[in-house]
Amino acid sequence: MKKQMTCIACPLGCQLTVEYEGTEVLSVTGNTCKRGDAYARTEIVNPTRSLTSTVRVKGGVHPVVPVKTAGPIPKDKMFEAMRYLNTVAVKAPVSLGQVIVEDLLGTGVNVVATNTD
């Protein structure tokens, strides 16, 4: 099987062609760097995305503080992760890089603050 995709690893947006059978990737072409190759392979086997959102802050300058997953999580867990993050509230002060959620939904990925508040 052949699949065309646009790489999202960087703003360049290379057009990739992936040849695969089931979940076995035979070849990746069209990429201009190693990250493109890696993106195409995970996209076929287990698509992942990094998630950014906000969580509530109690007693902070702003009502919410921005957060991100410290690494990519399975794409099909995005909405579940959002529902969970919308129940989370942290107490001010929050520092940049502070772990807000450990091991998000059993993915092994932490959620960290991306700003101070």
Partner: protein
């Protein structure tokens, strides 16, 4: 009136990088004047990642990118005045500003760096027919509501314009539980990055309709729906394609306008295409001692390029402050076939070192060559799989070629298909 060596107007990525570079170059007395409560500019509300790949070699969110510079600024003696609105800059570089603490401030600056950024094109500029209910806002305003204020502006959303902010907000609203029904784009191509079309629209099955616009808004108190229609090749709506889409929110992502009111008050001439100042390779405007960088100069696609540009402005301002006005012999950089504008618009042939020319094309070109020509000689000819108006391109005039240029030299950048 107080004297300062350098006044930087705006504390976003451009202002911070310019101020920091000026300090590195030996300027002791630098003040940053910032309108908002904190440094960071628009990055503070851009909580998605994708910043810093070029400059830091890693992917950061907006606040993280800003924080790296805020930390550096805090380590220096740079005076930062937040909550401070600059109201006027005179031709002899007297900066007038107001804030709650100092009241009226007047600063006589040895040099000024303009780094005010840009604002979004508002609804009023679009001439959409219909009522004027609540629920119509720019994508950036919506982004602030969601990411800073923690409030959702609506549940059923139509987005007009496929620039990056519109695409990012399509994903953000969807993740927060809203339904984004469609993104309409007037042009036959998207103004946003390909990766954003993939990860913000395709990932969530949000349709992108090209050559389509919003022709009417409906609703009395709150928006109830919009009418969209396809446009012909002259961008005129085709009546037979009108379609009603119920929604309570219309977000506009239809372009950014450099915020140049202060630039005009100084008397700096503007470029009609970029809507920013005309500058040289150090980002000095046509008024010596006044520099401009970042989105106030021309709208950038990546903040990394803003940082690099601002560092040039900071260095240029430092040289002006410490050594006085440099000898100059200017040659215009001329946009050739397919090129909409070039920044810098003029190059000092006495400059030492390479000069990078940034430019944007007027339409999408595939399998094209980007050609830099000086005095009829091809200096470089780079093959490009694709160049698009949404992405900034660049070519370099090498130092040795620049050294051979004269006041009569002709510099052209063009696209060949």
């Amino acid at each position: 009136m107080e004297n300062v060596q350098l006044a930087v107007i705006g504390g976003g990525p451009a202002g911070m990088a310019a101020a920091l570079r000026a300090v590195e170059c030996g300027v002791k007395d630098v003040v940053i004047l910032e309108r908002a409560e904190t440094l960071g500019g628009i990055l503070e509300q851009c909580i998605h990642t994708g910043f810093g790949l070029h400059y830091f070699g890693e992917e950061l969110s907006g606040p993280e990118y800003a924080a790296r510079f805020i930390e550096l600024v805090e380590k220096t003696d740079i005076t930062v005045k937040t909550d401070t609105m600059v109201t006027d800059i005179s031709p002899d570089r007297v900066v007038t500003a107001v804030n709650k603490k100092d009241g009226l401030i007047k600063l006589k600056a040895g040099a000024v760096v303009l780094a005010m950024g840009c604002r979004e094109r508002p609804r009023g500029a679009l001439e959409i027919a219909g009522t004027r209910p609540a629920g119509i806002m720019t994508a950036g305003t919506a982004q602030r509501y969601v990411n800073i204020d923690g409030k959702m502006p609506g549940k059923n959303v139509v987005i007009l314009g496929s620039g990056d902010i519109g695409l990012i907000m399509a994903r953000r609203m969807t993740l927060e539980g809203a339904r984004v029904k469609v993104v309409c784009e007037l042009m036959p191509y998207s103004g946003g990055l390909n990766r954003n079309i993939v990860q913000c629209l395709n990932d969530f099955n949000i349709p992108l309709r090209l050559s389509t616009t919003v022709v009417e808004t409906h609703g009395k108190e709150r928006l109830e729906g919009v009418t969209i229609a396809q446009v012909d090749e002259k961008l005129r709506p085709i009546d037979s394609t009108r379609e009603y889409i119920p929604c309570d929110t219309l977000m506009l992502s239809v372009g950014l306008i450099p915020e140049n009111e202060l630039t005009k008050s100084v008397g700096v001439p503007l470029d009609r295409v970029t809507n920013g100042a005309v500058v040289d390779e150090m980002r000095q405007t046509e008024m010596p001692g006044v520099f401009a960088c970042g989105n106030v100069l021309h709208v950038h696609d990546l903040v990394d390029y803003v940082t690099l540009e601002a560092q040039l402005a900071g260095e240029g301002a430092a040289k002006f402050i410490l050594n006085g006005e440099a000898a100059a012999c200017y040659v215009a950089s001329q946009p050739g076939n397919g090129v909409r504008y070039i920044v810098p618009q003029r190059v000092n042939v006495l400059h030492e070192g390479d000069v990078k020319l940034y430019f944007r094309v007027g339409r999408v070109f595939k399998n094209a060559r980007v050609v830099l020509e000086i005095d009829g000689e091809t200096v470089s000819s780079k093959k490009k799989v694709k160049v698009a108006p949404g992405e900034m391109e660049d070519v370099v005039i090498p130092a040795d070629r620049l050294a051979r240029m004269t006041e009569n030299s002709v510099v052209t950048v063009r696209v060949e298909e």
